[in-house]
């Protein structure tokens, strides 16, 4: 079957195409070059339509235990947004932490075709994959969390060499079926188990004597040396603490030029100036990002309203529980592996801190020059549910709208932000970079995030509209692997996406030490811990797509 999309106005930064008129051909799920003689089976007239590849959310909490705790915690939130079944779709719930099926539908209905779970605990990876297996339409993948696991900290205390750590990291990625590696409050989740309540970049874990800086160094090195494309994904120290802008700047400085991705940087960009001792550090952060080409970031924008924060950072989540709204919260210590904390939040535009957080996120977006190194996220659901992306895109693309909203927030916060004076408006091409080509490049996805021949046909078609929120919340068409799944912002058919992974090499003898550790201290046998390929594919819906390592010949 040959499909032709005729007369598209294409924004495809992966090929350097910026608003050019093109036809796109689809065959067997992929984009193909214009065939010489073939008959077109189905043609879509897309004259005047804006066409991009399917959007990719490179940091969204869509699978794993903490998300399901968040769901269980908030029945009253689900009741505000019940989702009916239809002949082709399953029922479920929406709003802050939607059910898996609704997650897939709503992402697709906004033109997204892939999402990546950024905090997959090795011991909880099985659950993360099972949840993501129940998210229809989307492709998915996960970044496996290390850095507070006792195994790594024991290695550091025992002064194991970098090679041994590389093997452990690579083995863990295999075992957990991951495409990236994340560290959350490096060593801090572990320190919390020893009753430490904060951990600065150079503060030692009281048991291991290891600092967050040490952990970042060995993990960032490991990720680079084993050839994983996605740089170490870092949720830094001191999340949410006024003054943490200095920690973040020190973290950037300290990594010494290694590739590093700083996630939801908005939560790590706070100064201590002003009457309320809370100020924006966005300008300093943006300056550092602009200067240090080894650093990429996503923003973790907050938007006003009810949501729930779900994080591996139980140390900081415990400290922040006093802001829980409604007042209920969960923390967990998990399996000498990691932890989690779930705290519902209601961000209010008339609250000084929340209002300034909102402005800090937007300042960051607008002050970082290179759209290939910054990504559009709300850290779903932590800053806001992913369904608020079209609103966020309008804030970035439409200065008068942005200033209109700015004029309604807490007046003291308005005084503490430079936002009103920033003239920049994002272009369609820059949005396409942040949400498509850049994300695919950052994660190392082969054949995704672009519209040239050979790519999988993940394609989103919009009607141009000066109201960018309206434009991005209701695409005309979405194709996933060439299948038409959305028309006029509604799911018309469903399918199952693939699971993206990488498989870096490791020395198999790494399992000797691991087996001994599992037998002595863990609650599972090593053989039962590792996730097999069958577990992803045996139900007949899932599949695994292995992506190349750096240095692999494409």
């Amino acid at each position: 079957m040959l499909i032709k999309l005729t007369g598209c106005t294409v924004y495809d930064p992966a090929s350097g195409v910026d608003g050019k008129l093109q036809d796109i051909y689809i065959r067997d799920g992929r984009i193909v070059a214009k065939p010489t003689e073939a008959v077109v089976d189905k043609e879509y007239d897309l004259k005047g339509k804006v066409v991009m590849s399917g959007a990719i959310d490179m940091h969204t909490h869509i699978g794993g235990g903490k998300g399901n705790i968040a769901r269980t915690l908030l029945p009253e939130d689900h009741r505000q947004d019940p989702v009916h079944r239809s002949d082709i779709t399953r029922s479920g719930c929406g709003h802050a932490m939607p059910s898996t099926f609704v997650t897939g539908y709503r992402y697709a209905e906004m033109g997204y075709t892939a999402g990546f779970e950024p905090a997959m605990l090795p011991v909880n990876a099985r659950q993360a994959h099972m949840e993501m297996a129940d998210i229809p339409i989307l492709d998915k993948g996960g970044y496996v969390m290390l850095g507070s696991d006792d195994y790594l900290l024991r290695m550091l205390t025992a002064k194991k060499d970098q090679k041994a750590i590389n093997d452990y990291v690579a083995w863990t990625m295999h075992s957990a079926k991951a495409i990236g590696v994340k560290v959350v409050n490096p060593g801090g989740i572990n320190a919390f188990k020893f009753n430490q309540r904060k951990l600065d970049l150079d503060e030692q874990n009281c048991y291991y004597g290891v600092t967050p800086r040490d952990i970042l160094q060995v993990l960032a090195t490991a990720v680079k040396e084993i050839g994983v494309t996605h740089p170490l994904h870092v949720h830094g120290c001191n999340l949410g603490v006024p003054g943490n802008v200095q920690t973040t700047l020190d973290t950037i400085q300290g990594i010494g030029g290694l590739p590093m991705h700083l996630t939801h940087i908005q939560f790590h960009s706070y100064g201590t100036e002003g009457d309320f001792k809370f100020s924006s550090g966005a300008a300093q952060i943006a300056e550092a990002i602009n200067k240090n080409k080894n650093i990429t970031i996503d923003v973790g924008q907050i938007l006003f309203g009810q949501t729930v924060t779900a994080s591996g950072d139980n140390m900081r989540q415990h400290a922040n529980h006093k802001f829980a709204s409604p007042n209920k919260w969960v923390t967990m210590d998990i399996e000498c592996d990691a932890g989690c904390g779930v705290v519902p939040f209601k961000y209010k535009d008339k609250n000084f801190v929340n209002a300034l957080q909102w402005a800090i996120g937007l300042e960051t977006f607008l002050l970082v020059d290179d759209p290939w190194r910054i990504f559009l996220t709300t850290d779903h659901p932590n800053g806001a549910p992913f369904t608020s992306y079209p609103h966020l895109i309008r804030l970035l693309m439409d200065r008068s709208f942005r200033n209109e909203v700015l004029s309604t927030i807490h007046p003291e916060a308005q005084k503490m932000t430079t936002l009103a004076s920033i003239e920049r408006e994002y272009t369609l091409q820059e949005i396409a970079i942040m949400t498509r080509a850049g994300a695919a490049k950052l994660i190392g996805l082969k054949d995704r995030g672009g519209l040239s021949a050979g790519n999988w046909a993940d394609i989103t078609v919009y009607t141009d509209n000066n109201d960018r929120q309206k434009m991005f919340e209701k695409p005309d068409y979405v194709f996933k692997d060439g299948q038409l799944v959305v028309v006029d912002g509604k799911v018309v058919s469903t399918k199952w996406g693939t699971t993206h992974v990488v498989r870096p090499d490791f020395d198999p003898s790494v399992e000797k030490g691991l087996k001994d550790y599992f037998d002595r201290y863990m609650t599972m046998k090593l053989g039962n811990f590792k996730i097999s390929n069958d577990e992803i594919t045996e139900d007949g819906r899932g599949s695994i797509s292995v992506h190349p390592l750096k240095g692999d010949v494409a």
């Binding site: 019940p82 719930c93 129940d134 020893f194 969960v330 967990m332 399996e335 779930v342």
Partner: protein, 422 residues
């Protein structure tokens, strides 16, 4: 005859995965690391291999057609039991969604004590490996822990080595409420658990006093429900002095009215202790025969735990009104589907309604159900996944033999497909 090692169990809830099982044709024998819960559950012989309709043996196809026929015109079928693996629950929920059923896990009334507390104020919990390596004080509330999980102490308390506890035999074990039924809680060096015994339904009062003492409040009374306040004061001091205290309970063992308030009291007390410059965590016991699995899968599929109805086309959770016995008694339900792939003794409640049982081979009934489809057991007859008591760990279940019995998922999925054909 083969021996399979590192077998994991879906029966005990504590994720034992070191069993060695001898397989001889269809018969299984646990030859290493069995226990009073796991061994009989694994060794249960296969008796039924054929489906029945109205007591007569029929082919699987006929039984499925009949089941679909029974469900087709129902207004409010109830799917009870909900004791199966992850894939089984996925298909169960798909079927419920399609026919507007109520989904109700058979252990939910016990689990409700936890869910109501969780959904009202939350908690600070931990998992088994943390207990094994960090716990220096274990408080067992209202539960006979070794009867619940016979190998709990051996695996997670008296383990030879722990990363952060120098001598595990020095760990303090304290029972509040029910006394232990055996010696499992006695340390390897002979130290018996400390027992503060009281009646189970006195726990609300006793725990109210304990929490007050933890918070430093003065209590004028000298005794509460037969326990000396001085002893409770000592317990409060021990909890505050412990580096990594763990408080455990089985929600179902707290069999008195409004036990959710007791769970909440415990959970809030644990939070209090964490504000007193030390660590303390809860450890709810559960995970038997798919209860945690049911709640987890229902959680990600609907947003709610496994006492949820689909009768209005979308999921609605009600921990009281969606209870199977309530719906059977009120006459609101018009069919019962009972899914129980683990336990032949967990039979459906008595009812005059048309009943479809998707059950473990070997189930016997006082009253023959309309349709009985024997299915394989996850972790014996087919591979699968189950959640352990501590929720974050899903264990991989192995296939041990070729029984030819279909899985719960296959049966429920086929019934759902039959319903699609009008």
């Amino acid at each position: 005859m083969i021996e399979i090692t590192e077998v994991s169990s879906p029966f005990c809830g504590i994720g034992t995965d070191d069993l060695t099982i001898k397989v001889d044709g269809l018969s299984l024998k646990v030859i290493e690391n069995g226990c009073a819960v796991n061994t009989p559950a694994f060794e249960q012989p296969i008796t039924d291999t054929s489906a029945r309709v109205d007591g007569k043996e029929v082919s699987l196809e006929i039984a499925i057609t009949k089941a679909a026929e029974l469900l087709r015109d129902t207004k409010l079928p109830v799917i009870g039991g909900c004791a199966t693996d992850v894939n089984g629950m996925r298909c169960l929920l798909a079927l419920a969604d399609r026919c507007g059923a109520v989904v109700d896990n058979m252990n939910f009334t016990g689990a409700r004590n936890n869910f109501l507390a969780l959904q009202d104020s939350g908690w600070m919990n931990t998992t088994l490996a943390e207990v094994k390596n960090r716990c220096d004080l274990l408080l067992v509330v209202g539960t006979d822990l070794e009867a619940f999980a016979p190998r709990f102490f051996e695996r997670y308390v008296w383990n030879k080595e722990a990363m952060f506890v120098e001598d595990t035999s020095q760990r303090s074990v304290i029972y509040l409420g029910k006394a232990p039924s055996g010696q499992a809680s006695t340390s390897p060096n002979g130290q018996k658990a400390q027992v503060l015994e009281c009646a189970t339904d006195d726990l609300p009062e006793v725990l109210a006093v304990l929490r007050a003492l933890v918070k430093g409040s003065q209590i004028r009374a000298t005794s509460v429900c037969g326990l000396a306040v001085a002893d409770l004061q000592m317990l409060a001091d021990q909890l505050k002095a412990a580096k990594y205290g763990v408080v455990t309970w089985a929600a179902g063992a707290l069999a008195f009215a409004h036990a959710e308030l007791t769970v909440q009291k415990l959970s809030e007390m644990i939070k209090d202790i964490n504000d007193l410059n030390t660590r303390c965590s809860g450890l709810p016991l559960a995970g038997k025969e798919g209860d945690q699995t049911a709640n987890q899968v229902c959680g990600w599929t609907t947003g709610y735990p496994a006492r949820t109805r689909f009768s209005r086309g979308y999921p609605e959770y009600d921990p009281f009104l969606n209870e199977t016995s309530v719906l059977l008694a009120s006459g609101e339900a018009d069919a019962l589907v009972w899914v129980q792939a683990f336990n032949v003794n967990a039979v459906p409640p008595e009812t005059t309604l048309p009943t479809i049982v998707v059950g473990r081979s070997g189930m016997t009934f006082a009253k023959e159900p309309t349709v009985f489809i024997p299915v394989g057991t996850p972790g014996i007859d087919h591979a699968g996944h189950a959640f352990r008591m501590d929720n974050v760990v899903a264990i991989r279940l192995k296939k041990l033999r070729d029984s030819g019995l279909p899985s719960t998922a296959e049966v429920l999925n086929t019934i759902e497909q039959a319903l699609q054909v009008k």
